[in-house]
């Protein structure tokens, strides 16, 4: 099963021509907007899931219960099974509309897990957290161990982003995908994210731009997890969005053949 991150740039597309099995949107983009396009996707037999950007799980601002309740209302209205956000900060006590790394330490893991539990208590259901790209960070834990500790203590789902593992491997000589997933509990994984990224010579870093096709070895790992664990895969393409044909080609590379 292969899904697609639905973008505003796709509003004029004939979505029946997009070969996605499900879609994902950022709730922050739809809470104040007419959700008719999302209902049309759902009526075509393809569910919509929510993937947020502003919960600020790693930040210091109190969890905004009113905002979380709005998300819950949107989940109910759209029949969403999954709502996730990033294992990152989107600011300190304020928002900066980007994603910043949480130090990989035990105290931080426990602090953030408590914040996730607060969100889940308000929502009355589990959320998912996504492992993120980071460009510099501190701490004494391996990223996969930090992630596992947060997920276990919060008793939440994991949205496993294979592209982010690959970007971090390139930038920091970190764990490759096999090594990373060997250290996490795959039964916690709700679905996978894949995307493309670009090297930025100004920083000497690969940046998680979501503006390219998926690298073949990342797609390979995604298909393997889908085949062995039945894990759905979602393609993120958020910048320089290509044509429907290119999107469909990428989606077809993420499909696994069903034994007959």
């Amino acid at each position: 099963m292969a899904g697609l991150g639905y973008r505003r740039e796709m509003a004029d597309w004939d979505m029946s021509a997009v070969h996605a099995d499900f879609f994902e949107v950022a709730p922050e983009n739809w809470l104040r907007r007419d959700t008719a396009p999302l209902h049309r996707l759902i009526e075509s037999g393809r569910p919509v899931q929510l993937h947020g950007v502003s919960l600020n799980l790693g930040g210091t601002a109190p969890i905004d219960a009113g905002f979380v309740r709005e998300i819950g209302g949107l989940m109910d209205a759209l029949g969403c099974v999954h709502y996730s956000d990033h294992l990152a900060a989107s600011g300190d006590a304020h928002q900066l509309y980007d994603l910043f790394p949480i130090p990989f330490t035990r105290p931080e893991a426990l602090r953030v897990a408590d914040r996730i539990k607060q969100v889940q208590d308000v929502l009355g259901r589990r959320i998912g957290i996504e492992n993120t790209t980071w460009y510099t960070n501190i701490g004494d834990m391996a990223e996969a161990d930090f992630l596992s500790m947060v997920v276990e203590h919060a008793d939440c789902h994991l949205l496993l982003d294979l592209n982010n593992i690959d970007v971090n491997r390139k930038n920091h000589a970190g764990a490759d995908i096999d090594t990373f997933i060997a250290r996490i509990d795959l039964s916690r994984v709700s679905y996978l994210h894949v995307a493309g990224h670009e090297f930025d010579a100004r920083f000497g870093l690969y940046i998680d731009t979501h503006s390219q096709g998926v690298e073949s070895h990342v797609a390979h790992h995604a298909r393997r997890l889908a085949r062995e664990h039945g894990t759905p895969i979602l393609l993120e393409w958020d910048n320089d969005v290509p044509t429907v044909d290119v999107i469909n080609r990428e989606l077809s590379c993420l499909q696994i053949s069903t034994p007959t």
């Binding site: 922050e28 104040r32 300190d92 304020h94 928002q95 910043f100 790394p101 870093l205």
Partner: protein, 94 residues
């Protein structure tokens, strides 16, 4: 996360927070300014060509430097920008 991490990202200081790399911190500062730049440019498209690149860059950098944005909604940055301009224009000239 140490407070000086965000002071660097906002451009309030060029002193690196302990343990973080210079390249990574520059990337974060760039990405935050890029987000602000894109939102302001989308809502006030006449500003950038009117100001010229240097003044435009200075304006965006100052907008981010003084930021304390409370909203979950990125689109609300346009209102923050208007409020920032109002505050700046109310300040007595040197």
């Amino acid at each position: 996360m140490p407070a000086d991490f965000y002071a660097y990202v906002r451009g309030q200081t060029d002193t690196l927070p302990a343990g973080y790399t210079e390249a990574g911190m520059r990337a974060y500062r760039y990405l935050v300014r890029l987000g602000a730049r894109q939102m302001v440019d989308a809502h006030f498209p006449q500003l950038r060509p009117g100001l010229g690149e240097d003044a435009w860059d200075t304006l965006i950098a100052e907008f981010v430097r003084q930021s304390a944005w409370p909203s979950h909604f990125y689109g609300d940055l346009k209102d923050e920008f208007v409020a920032f301009l109002a505050r700046a224009s109310a300040e007595p000239a040197d």
